[in-house]
Point group: C2
Chain length 333, copies 2
């Protein structure tokens, strides 16, 4: 055990919140009587699926880009991502008057590519089977003098992402537990930093797809454990090792990691659709999945949930959720 300075403090999250004011949406907190009855607790859903670019990623990207020097902003930013982070960096760059280059696989979904270009970013593609995106990103950044904005492993990104929990707690007051999806660990690191500073007794629960439980294993081992790249519908959480900077924060502040199966995620997405009337992407549905399937240790009282994103197109939703699970169907028959 070491007692080094944590990479982020509560002040960093508060500073990020000030920078995001009037730029990021103050997303709504939804409640559902049905959900409360099923979970046996009061559940408060912080709906980052209504955030700009459809996910919490905008908070971290904007905070990080806003901290660059005028010289850095004059040269531009870069990121590698085929997901929500790409759009988040592209929009943050546009909002802050700079340019963005996004490195994406050639076969990225056309809708993601179009959305990123729609925010004015330049797309550089690579062949994901023969080329290394990290090397391409680094080479681009070096060649053009661009500032690379990582998706989670950066103090300003973590602090920005943590403003989701800060806003929730400011709006609803004290909570008994906070349930957060875990991918690279930036959202939960920032959220736990804010939550435990405000309410030291709050239980912070992360949720991972069970196929990609690198953070659960790592917390149990007390060190970063690498796993094979997981196969899961939760594409925002298909990571094989916790972040270098996020992990020590989470080792100190996260109380539990709950695993959920892809079927449980599908059921939670369908529940969100049919009962809550909101669109939630697979990764964003993992906390709901954990609560509805009883995959966390027993929780009671008031539970905050970060619904982290809603970027799933109608075709993919139809494939994932258009047919009810057989066991459920026969269960109701």
């Amino acid at each position: 055990m070491t007692t080094s300075t944590p990479p982020i403090t509560f002040d960093d999250v508060r500073d990020a919140a000030t920078r995001l004011e009037g730029v990021a949406h103050r997303t709504p907190v939804l409640r559902s009587r049905t959900l409360d009855a099923l979970v046996g607790a009061e559940v408060l859903l912080k709906c980052e699926n209504f955030q700009r670019v459809g996910a919490f990623k905008f908070r971290g990207a904007y905070n990080a880009v806003s901290r660059l020097t005028p010289e850095q902003l004059a040269r531009g930013v870069a990121a590698y991502s085929s997901g929500n982070h790409a759009q988040a960096v592209a929009l943050a760059a546009r909002e802050l008057g700079t340019t963005a280059v996004i490195v994406m696989p050639e076969d990225a979904p056309r809708s993601k590519r179009a959305a990123t270009e729609g925010y004015g970013a330049e797309i550089v593609t690579y062949d994901r089977y023969t080329e290394d995106r990290i090397a391409i990103g680094a080479a681009l950044a070096a060649e053009r003098g661009l500032a690379l904005i990582p998706p989670y492993d950066h103090p300003h990104v973590m602090a920005g992402q943590g403003t989701a929990a800060l806003e929730l707690l400011e709006e609803v007051g004290e909570l008994d537990a906070l349930v957060v999806p875990v991918g690279g660990g930036g959202l939960i690191a920032g959220s736990a930093t804010a939550a435990k500073a405000l309410h030291p007794g709050i239980r912070v629960i992360g949720v991972e797809p069970e196929a990609g439980d690198d953070t659960r294993r790592s917390l149990a081992a007390g060190r970063r454990v690498e796993i094979p790249v997981p196969h899961t519908i939760a594409d925002g959480q298909a990571l094989h090792i916790p972040g270098e900077l996020t992990f020590p924060v989470n080792l100190r502040l996260v109380d539990e990691i709950a695993p959920v199966s892809d079927d449980e995620i599908r059921d939670a997405m369908r529940f969100a659709f049919e009962r809550l009337k909101i669109v939630v992407e697979p990764s964003g549905a993992t906390p709901l999945a954990a609560l509805l399937s009883g995959r966390t240790a027993p929780v009671a009282g008031r539970i905050g949930v970060i619904v982290s994103g809603g970027n799933v197109d109608a075709e993919r939703f139809a494939l994932l959720c258009g047919e009810r699970r057989r066991n459920l169907r026969s269960g109701h028959g």
Copy 2:
């Protein structure tokens, strides 16, 4: 032209709002930069898909049941509906301490039946091919002394439904236009009554599926015109003649009826899903469809939209919206 007393006044809508306070949800008003850019106006979406029972119908049903005498409440209420009105009457009855009998076709979707029973209502089924639901409802009401709550053609129902527009206008202030789905005409009659009382210059635009344009034809003719029962995905608007009480109100207050095709409705549902991250049922998506497809006369400035409901299950959504329209797909290719 006659100058008879209108069946409802603005005071009726205001009275209904008082009764609904703390019982109906004060639903959120959502905005979208993308939508504003596509429509070329500021669009404010009153999200009744987040209302209790998932649709505006609760407003009218609760207002009507709440006006019954103690004697009527002691005997109970009845309704015939396989849709949102069934759940609305069942929940209103439960909230007001009375009982509800709902007449539904034997082959009504199991989910609708289960939801209605979940609110404590008794279900009486009939064979829709051989029996007449109106006769069954009337016989039941007479036999058991039940008060029949109609889905739209009743002053208290219209006034209650109009509170959706009243709330919207209270929250966002003056609007240039208000766009409302038209089925039996209760929602638009109540909404137009409130809107024109507050802002006489507001343009009230109704939207119908083009296959079921009975109100458009009737307004053009100046009298109720009957059409064959329409085939449309907008099941909440598959009506063949305007209401007896709603029509004179709409003849006086509605400025335009825009027709939309089923394909335009599907596109609007998909837009709501992918861009707004909300679930909207076919009838609820018709105003969005009209705006996105340019089916209304040109509108500018600030436009209010009643998103009337979100009751579509994941399987039906997948069938309706899981595949992109061919012409759109090739258009983007």
